[in-house]
């Protein structure tokens, strides 16, 4: 089954649309009255999108949703997704793929903040850049993302993989400040630069293939090790937090 949702122009284009109903399961189970919210107004899906559904599906995994047009202010697409595929051809708003447990989301453009928040499983690939709190947790929550994979081909914002507690996060560009802060488990890979990586981590593993600026001063230097034949410094910490995490860093600078 192929579901094509084309975003219509809106009178107030900046007001966010909350569309947690846009997940493969909704279309697999059939929808006559799917609604989305523009602020406090509940609207039929058709008022925001041109909707076209082709074909049938035997299981949720056979459902593919394609989102066309300016979806940069559409929030919560793919929330609690448990199978199937969502392909976003432009940018996507906040909270895309919150809590998803299976399936795949592909974003051709950029993703706004909280991409894959508290994700449990499945896969997100973002070909542009991601905002702050990519693959992170929620306010006050001790554990964030617990499983699955988030891969960002551009840059990611601040607090990437905050409170990471499982799964893997790969940022091909640079990550912002405090990436991997408070992480507990799982694996974070940053191909470019970041700053203050993995502050207060208690466990898990991180690789930074570029430079960590303002390196947190409470990681214990274990020594030089080779990663793919290149020399890296291995750290363990965060000692301030009785942490047992491991960091492999190509270059680092302290704020001294």
């Amino acid at each position: 089954m192929k579901v094509t949702l084309e975003v219509k122009p809106r009178q107030k284009p900046y007001l966010p649309i909350e569309a947690e109903g846009i997940v493969p399961r909704t279309f697999f189970e059939g929808t006559d009255s799917l609604t989305v919210f523009r602020g406090n107004k509940e609207l039929p899906l058709e008022e925001i999108f041109n909707v076209a559904i082709e074909g049938e599906a035997e299981s949720v995994d056979e459902v593919e949703i394609i989102i066309l047009g300016d979806s940069s202010r559409i929030k919560r697409v793919g929330e609690y997704m448990d199978g199937g595929r969502i392909h976003i051809t432009g940018d996507i708003g906040m909270h895309c793929g919150n809590f998803m447990s299976a399936g795949e989301i592909v974003i051709d453009g950029n993703a706004d903040a909280w991409l894959g928040r508290e994700m449990r499983g499945g896969r997100i690939r973002c070909h542009g850049s991601a905002g702050d709190y990519c693959a992170a947790g929620y306010r006050g929550e001790k554990r964030g993302m617990r499983g699955g994979t988030v891969e960002v081909f551009g840059d990611a914002g601040d607090f990437t993989a905050e409170t990471l507690a499982g799964g893997s996060v790969i940022i091909h560009g640079n990550a912002g400040d405090l990436s991997g802060v408070d992480m507990k488990e799982g694996e974070l890979t940053i191909m470019g630069d970041t700053s203050r990586a993995c502050a207060n981590m208690s466990g898990g593993m991180a690789y930074v293939h570029g430079t960590v600026n303002d390196m947190i001063p409470t990681f214990r230097k274990i020594g030089q090790e080779k990663v793919n034949g290149e020399p890296y410094t291995r750290f363990s910490g965060d000692i301030a937090n009785r942490g047992k995490g491991t960091l492999f860093i190509r270059n680092y600078k302290y704020l001294d």
């Binding site: 107030k12 900046y14 007001l15 966010p16 909350e18 919210f37 523009r38 602020g39 406090n40 107004k41 202010r73 906040m94 903040a113 909280w114 702050d132 709190y133 929620y138 306010r139 006050g140 001790k142 400040d177 405090l178 802060v181 408070d182 203050r196 502050a199 207060n200 303002d214 947190i216 001063p217 409470t218 990681f219 214990r220 230097k221 910490g237 965060d238 000692i239 301030a240 937090n241 009785r242 302290y254 704020l255 001294d256």
Partner: protein, 429 residues
Amino acid sequence: MKINDVVCPFCGCLCDDLEITVEHNRIVAVDNGCTLANAKFMSKEQLASPIRRTGEGWENISYDEAIQYTVDMLLDADRPLLYGWSGTHGEAQCIGVHVSELVGGIIDSTTSVCHGPSILAIQEVGHPGCTLGRVKNRADVVIYWGCNPLEAHPRHMSRYTTYADGYFLQNAFRERKVIVVDVRETETARVADEFIRIKEGGDYAVLSALRAIVRGKGDVVPESVAGVSRSQLERIVTLCKDAKFGAIFFGLGLTMTRGKYKNVRNAIELVDELSRHTKFTITPMRGHWNVYGSNEVFTWMTGYPYAIDFCRGIAFYNPGETSAIDLLARKECDACLIIGSDPGAHFPRGCVEHLAEIPTVVIDPVPTMTTALADVQIPVAVSGIDADGTAYRMDGVPIRVRKVIEPTLPNDREVLKSIHAKMKEAKGQ
């Protein structure tokens, strides 16, 4: 007529020992207060009636018209923002929550631009706090981190710390050690026993280093951390560990600099670590007199302390998304009611521009910078001067602010009540 024990409705200290002299329903003298208090009590330029913007300027309108305008504006909007609240009393904040819920809007207080990060940190790791009275009577080490009480909370040091007598201290002034941590040498730093000067953006690193040293793992810490030598950090840790009772106060230098709430979290975790050796507490230096009250009221009514989104009928909370600055900067709201705050004076430019574009109503006694962005302003009595109500001090102690002169205008509570009643009527409830 002299009135004793008046509460000052200006900063989070909520000093309750002012003496006000009133003649012919006018305040003529203020004693015991600081200069900020004097300015607040003696200001005179209240608006006399609600005003509405016309093509060329402003026209006076009646309270009924102004309230009707506000109700229509809120009901027409898809995502209205109700912002401010720290300059009004708790009873009015309560009605504000009811109005927000009824209209399906977002309610946020000035917390989101001052100590919001402190609350986010507290939600992660808790709050080892205490009352100011306890600090006054017991603390022999006081740390001011990223705040300048001598200028922002002028009587904090004389009422609660450095210059105050302490019941359990023989000679409080001599026995109390004051440590100031800041990026520049402030007035407060000059009276401190120990001043730690940190490079900008280095608070987090210094806090981490202190935690490691307290744990006896100082060997991992480099010689210098963000401009502070390891030997000074070690000296501070010894001072703290030797304290009988330590109190940390922190301000926007910690909450609004790089890392924001993670800085505060690190500070709380330092307190946690120190409390394995002695007694330590931590308190945010709340700015507006009743900003803490907004958090208390919102929390017991909605479950969340600020930035609460009622658009979907239930409370949703996510500062960064549902906080005023972010909503305005991203143009995600389409009407705004402002009460007890002056965002026109201190919000970033993009936010102010959006406020000017959307319909905005201000409830405030005096013309402010925000008036310039508004379509309607409704003047009200001033809480603590000609209106009474409940406020929360920076340590969470509720204090009733009094009315010292008779009002000539309705107060926030009354105006909001009429808005709420009219709105219910319009919704057929």
